[in-house]
Symmetry: C2
Subunit: 509 residues, 2 copies
């Protein structure tokens, strides 16, 4: 970068990037109930200290699809304290704001003359806070309605077939720097995968070349919230599907902090994966130091600076293979207990030594994964009782498994699989159908799964009705189309209905 | 009133009073889903047109204790459009605002420098949107957290015995006019009743006399949200319990519009009962024209002006006694149907004739209460089918009863009973206990009722736990106190436990 420092400042867009704050996670837990809010508040305070132009969030701001009153109130209080102030906003949104922002006001929040927004927040939705219900609203829409957050990346999917989405970037200008910010709120991985493999299903709109400004002058950022792990390619997004014109990707959803931008060979872009700001599963990936990213962009160059989060509850993780420990006697349960006590005590000690600010020492999360092959398990609840008041999770310190990482490579994969926040068990309907040896003739199992998911988790009372209506319509249409071109017997209709189901199964919506 | 008109204006506090907007009522109904929002929007637009100083709401702004995302978003959108503007606010809140407003910001919304509030809204909670859960939050707290509403009258009840509440008024000054605004959010009628009958249980704080201003210079307003109907005095609040220093009462909860201030003989105050802005039960009282009240106060004088709501869906109500109709043949069901069809058609016609704006004609609500003594009933759903597209409620036009108003006076009472919005059936636990001939020895039936209510309707997962914990504590304390003064046998403990339960039953919390 060149020029004077003040000139630099007026041409440098400074973004604080964070994701997966999961506000409201463990809100009923006496010890951990404030964790998600403290981390989010720290993120906001870093944004304030660093005087960034805006805060960019990669989804799952809320843990629950329908956050409690308490979580909504706390989220609003934090946003109100940090986002409303007299700081001047020094960038402009030059794209069509009614297209960028899905709320009924149709403008970026700091342009509303009735609010004093000093720190704009931009967020896409994740899989936890995705839009649902008749009005297709997300919890982020509530924050958008009261002008505390700019909700973008809410794509509307077409109704039938693979569907189609069009991504319109938010075009941002600060001095001589131009940034095109693309948002893609969470879509089911399977579906997005299929769309990426279907020509023209995903349309990336590019800013028009203007006088004195070429398309290549825009610095292109994409924020998405999808599975990235590649163990099951159907359920994750391959980085190579993303367009090569991108310069920088912010990857939400994955909770492990891999904040340092990684280059994707041959694609010409880097990916940052900030990871969650609160551990929602006690696995190795979540035990690493959590960070957010300060991203400074000037022209086509950027500088990433990672900033550790100090407020996050310490989390110590280790693995133990009982049969590799010489001091354990397989016939003496006490020797197992003694060994595990030693391991846990060491983890607690290690956690205390790392603490920077002793006065604010938090009870640590402690997790020991125990490979007990050839041994008996012990009751984790009973084991944890003596750690009440010493760790934040006495009830689940120990987790028993039979395959250790040291023995089998798959265990590593198993771990990274589990890095993703808890998923809904979408096998239920499938299992049910298999168990009862049912043959589904009109409704695809997959659609029923989704309907069940929406009904239970998103309070979408119309989920089953919509599922049935959609499939009936599709079936009728298909039969009507076919019967136009050729006459067939009534008894063939059953065959046709089956074909229609098959066709839809190929492209589930 | 005297003085020039501009002097008048600067000394006259102008309040728009409305209540029971029940936002979100029937939000899943294809026809009626927008009704509650339209009426609330009209109320806000009247406030804007009349350039009132503020809008005062008497509770039940929301229909559901946990409003849907959609309802929250729509409520915020309306408030944002009408309350945020450049109109100067011309009154001052001179009381301790941290006491008046329960949110963590502790000031009236228009004094927040980061919001451009032109139309302040003040609201208490009702029984539908009352505080619940661990943090004791109401849906109104959400609107308060984002600074769109000033939530007041959220009293904190003491933990044991009858409890005690202290009401601190919002002290409002506009020129020479001083208003003390008392708010009392809904409390269970039984409990409030008992408190009113217990000395010092309800404390009304009065503004201190100041230089040039006596206590009597304050115009005192109380807003409450309770049953007013006197059929069951235990479950309603007697007007004579209210303090005589009040000048004006705004009575929420009762849905019938009795907006013209009625004097309460011997009490020295008037009561306005604006009624709901949306009909939530199809009874006679709700079929009357809905109004809001413009209240203009100058010094100790006030002028009430009722303003009809034009956006409310028309609702025609009548009653039919089959045996009084000469053209009906008891042995011919067709003659009953013909008669009822005639009645319904006339109601639809009457509704159309009343309509002011023919272009915005809404499908009316129609209700016929049929006394069928000596006749067969007919299926109301089937009857309604031919009125699909002609009325807003084809499925429940007819309601059958055996006691007609004309025959029995109690029927009238029955009606007014039903004016109140649907109540929870708090007899369930009592019935269960009676049915199974159980004897409760530690937990009062009443407390279990409340716990059940809070668990089901308010999603208070801790309701039963709190109920058990509280009663155990009380029992232990009572026994500990008694055993201090006298020694008693272990077997007497059971008697003591019983006594403790009895004592609590006298003063349920």
């Amino acid at each position: 970068m060149s020029g004077s420092s003040s000139e630099d400042a007026s041409n440098t867009l400074r973004i604080l990037v964070a994701t997966d704050c999961h506000l409201g996670y463990m809100e009923k837990d006496e010890i951990r109930r404030h964790d998600s809010f403290r981390a989010f508040e720290e993120i906001c305070s870093i944004a304030e200290q660093k005087q960034v132009d805006f805060l960019l969030l990669g989804g799952d701001l809320f843990h629950e699809n329908k956050p409690s009153r308490s979580t909504l109130v706390k989220a609003m209080e934090i946003l109100r304290r940090y986002c409303l102030n007299d700081q001047p906003v020094q960038f402009q949104v030059v794209s069509d704001q009614t297209v960028n922002f899905a709320n009924s006001f149709g403008h970026v929040n700091y342009e509303d003359p009735h609010f004093n927004v000093g720190l704009p927040v931009f967020s896409i939705h994740g899989n936890h806070d995705d839009p649902a219900g008749v009005d297709n609203l997300s919890a982020i829409d509530i924050l958008s309605a009261c002008n505390l957050v700019n909700y973008f990346g809410k794509t509307v999917l077409g109704g039938s077939g693979v569907g189609q989405i069009t991504l319109y970037p938010i075009l941002i200008r600060k001095g001589s720097t131009s940034v095109a910010l693309y948002g893609l709120g969470n879509i089911r991985d399977e579906r997005l995968n299929r769309m990426f493999q279907t020509p023209h299903a995903v349309q990336w709109m590019r800013p028009e070349a203007q006088e004195g400004c070429q398309v290549s002058d825009w610095f292109n950022i994409l924020v998405l919230h999808q599975n990235r792990v590649k163990t099951n390619p159907k359920n994750a997004i391959n980085e190579h599907f993303l367009p090569r014109f991108m310069d920088f990707i912010v990857w939400g959803h994955e909770h492990e902090c891999l904040v340092d931008p990684q280059e994707v060979p041959g694609m010409g872009f880097h990916i940052t994966q900030p990871g969650s700001s609160v551990a929602t599963s006690l696995i190795e990936g979540e035990s690493k130091q959590k960070h957010v990213l300060l991203l400074e962009i000037k022209g086509n160059q950027y500088r990433p600076t990672k900033i550790p989060l100090a407020s996050v509850r310490p989390f110590e993780y280790t693995e133990v293979v009982l049969k590799d420990e010489p001091d354990i006697d397989p016939n003496d349960q006490n020797s197992i207990l003694e060994h595990l006590d030693k391991v846990v005590s060491n983890l607690i000690k290690r956690s205390g030594q790392k603490a920077v600010n002793k006065s604010e020492l938090k009870l640590p999360l402690v997790r020991v994964k125990v490979d007990y092959s050839g041994f008996m398990t012990i009751n984790p609840q009973r084991f944890g009782q003596k750690y009440v008041g010493k760790v934040a999770n006495p009830q689940d310190i120990l987790i028993f498994s039979k395959i250790s990482r040291k023995d089998q490579k798959e265990a590593k994969i198993d771990d990274s699989e589990r890095l993703r926040p808890e998923e809904l068990n979408q096998q239920n309907i499938e299992a049910l159908v298999a168990e009862h040896n049912l043959k589904m003739e009109i409704l695809p199992v997959n659609d029923l799964d989704i309907a069940l998911h929406n009904f239970v988790n998103k309070d979408d009372k119309m989920a089953f009705y919509s599922c049935v209506r959609y499939n009936l319509e599709e079936t009728r249409n298909k039969i009507a189309r076919d019967s136009d071109s050729l006459k067939f017997d009534e008894k063939d209709i059953i065959v046709k209905v089956g074909e229609s189901l098959q066709a839809r199964n190929l492209y589930p919506t």
